[in-house]
Symmetry: C2
Subunit: 309 residues, 2 copies
């Protein structure tokens, strides 16, 4: 079943201890859709400028990602420049140019209307809410956000949270959103804000899902679930790891007939798997050309890494 | 089979967001031996002052821990005072009084000579080496250390590392010891220093075991193993969590006829289980009176928390 994702499609300049790239295709919607494309049909809504040409478009179409919702407008695409020289776990933003993203007004093509899954990547919650409202019939909607929206756009964000089935954020964001230093208590507060499930991403330590009372139709327990991350000898470029996690996670869920606890757990593992691939190369290089067999092998490795037998 | 542990037996003054205790029984050997006592016979080597009386001794003997190696000398016991008010993940040391510990010279009672397992808790590597040398026939020896010994006593520590089967330290210590920021590369360096296995404790994110080439007689794979930690709504007192992990881990190993990969994995889980109990109350309160059934229930919870099915 198809996932509709709305978010940024951008160019990034990145420096890490492993090297640098002056211009690579990035943006949350790009990472998400590439990762999800290995599991299900993906449709993107975003905006790009004149610098987004056939080469960039081909990155999506080679993975059968529907780009009819990517609007082309005069000007330059969203540009982000970041450095991981001081800390591989947290990007230092050197420069952000919103460019055409500044006046982004998401338009949903008629062909996208039957999408059953919706992912609201990290953009202005006002836009997230707008897209959510235009897709009232989706089976499941998940979203992401970041410190800027949590701190300075809390009311708008609160309205979005009420409409989410799942929220995927990192530890710092969860604690900031809940104004709570203990993660379990933060999760309880956030689940009270709307989402049925909260997935907290811990970077190199994996991710934990916290469940509210109404996650699964068949009434699963409220025990959290923790998926590991793969210990890697070299993290070439951490950019997009969280979006790739979200793509693997939600892509797998969309590929299954029902959201059972077992499906949810496997989805958490596939999230970790896709995140681990993303950081092995710069930008989306690795996500562009995965072999489905590699994905299954790494899934087996995640199991071996974490299971008693 | 019996474990011999050498380390500190102390009094602690602790303040955390949950409250404070002016004087509670602590020390690495205390936490370790209480945790291990639920799995196997434990014998302690340490030194205490005149303030260590019948009440303190009873904490050990009620758990059938052999205290004949705890030397009583004139003066006061080792005293540590710490605060977790700023950060629950890292103690701020307010005061350390070595007292009788300053001239500690470990003596091994004749009755301890047949111990098959040896744990060198975090003390001066010169003393660790001395005890190790006096117990040449042990089946397996594990140890702990800390930033102070890594930084200022590197040569002494290096000699101990050569004699260890397993080293259990936290992320910061591992990276400091290896002078390496990437954990996988740090683990490789440390395994080159001597230990056959390195267990890195991640606090609330669990622990990862990294294996060298010669860990198990039957030739296990070199895939790391990651055990979860239990997400807790309240960490009352983090003191001793790492030592309790070590006690559960090594206690379980000592209780089993052979160290197979399956036994090792379960040991990692029991480590997490005992660490999770330790932090639920101040000092060793929780570890003093566990029901074996509680331990098995929590083990099952750890499995549920981390396993696909």
């Amino acid at each position: 079943m198809a996932i509709l994702v709305v978010g940024s499609v951008a160019f990034d300049a990145i420096e890490t201890p492993s090297g640098r790239r002056d211009r690579c295709l990035g943006g949350a919607a790009t990472y998400f859709s590439l990762a999800a494309s290995y599991f299900t049909d993906v449709r993107v809504i975003g905006v790009v400028g004149e610098d987004f040409g056939d080469e960039e478009k081909a990155v999506f179409t080679r993975r059968n990602i529907d780009t009819r919702g990517i609007e082309h407008v005069p000007g330059k695409s969203f540009f982000w420049s970041g450095s991981y020289m001081k800390n591989l776990n947290e990007a230092q933003t050197l420069n952000t140019e919103l460019n055409v993203f500044q006046s982004f007004s998401p338009k949903i093509p008629a062909e996208y209307q039957d999408s059953e899954f919706l992912f609201l990547a990290n953009i202005d919650p006002v836009l997230q809410e707008e897209v959510r409202r235009k897709m009232p019939k989706v089976k499941m909607v998940c979203g992401d956000t970041m410190n800027y929206w949590i701190r300075d756009h809390a009311e708008n964000l609160a309205r979005v949270l009420k409409t989410l089935d799942g929220l995927l954020i990192n530890d710092t964001e969860a604690k900031m959103l809940a104004k709570q230093n203990n993660l379990v208590q933060a999760a309880r507060s956030i689940l009270d804000m709307g989402p049925k499930v909260l997935v907290v991403k811990h970077g190199e330590y994996g991710a934990t899902a916290f469940f509210g009372d109404k996650t699964f139709a068949n009434g699963a327990s409220s025990t959290p679930f923790r998926a590991p991350a793969l210990p890697l000898a070299e993290v070439v470029d951490p950019t997009g790891a969280g979006d790739s996690f979200a793509g693997g996670f939600f892509g797998y869920i969309a590929s299954q007939p029902d959201l059972t606890p077992a499906v949810f757990r496997r989805a958490m593992f596939y999230g970790g798997v896709m995140g681990s691939f993303a950081v092995e190369r710069f930008g989306t290089e690795r996500l562009q050309q995965l072999d489905p067999k590699e994905i299954e092998e790494r899934f087996a490795l995640f199991r071996q890494l974490s299971h008693l037998d």
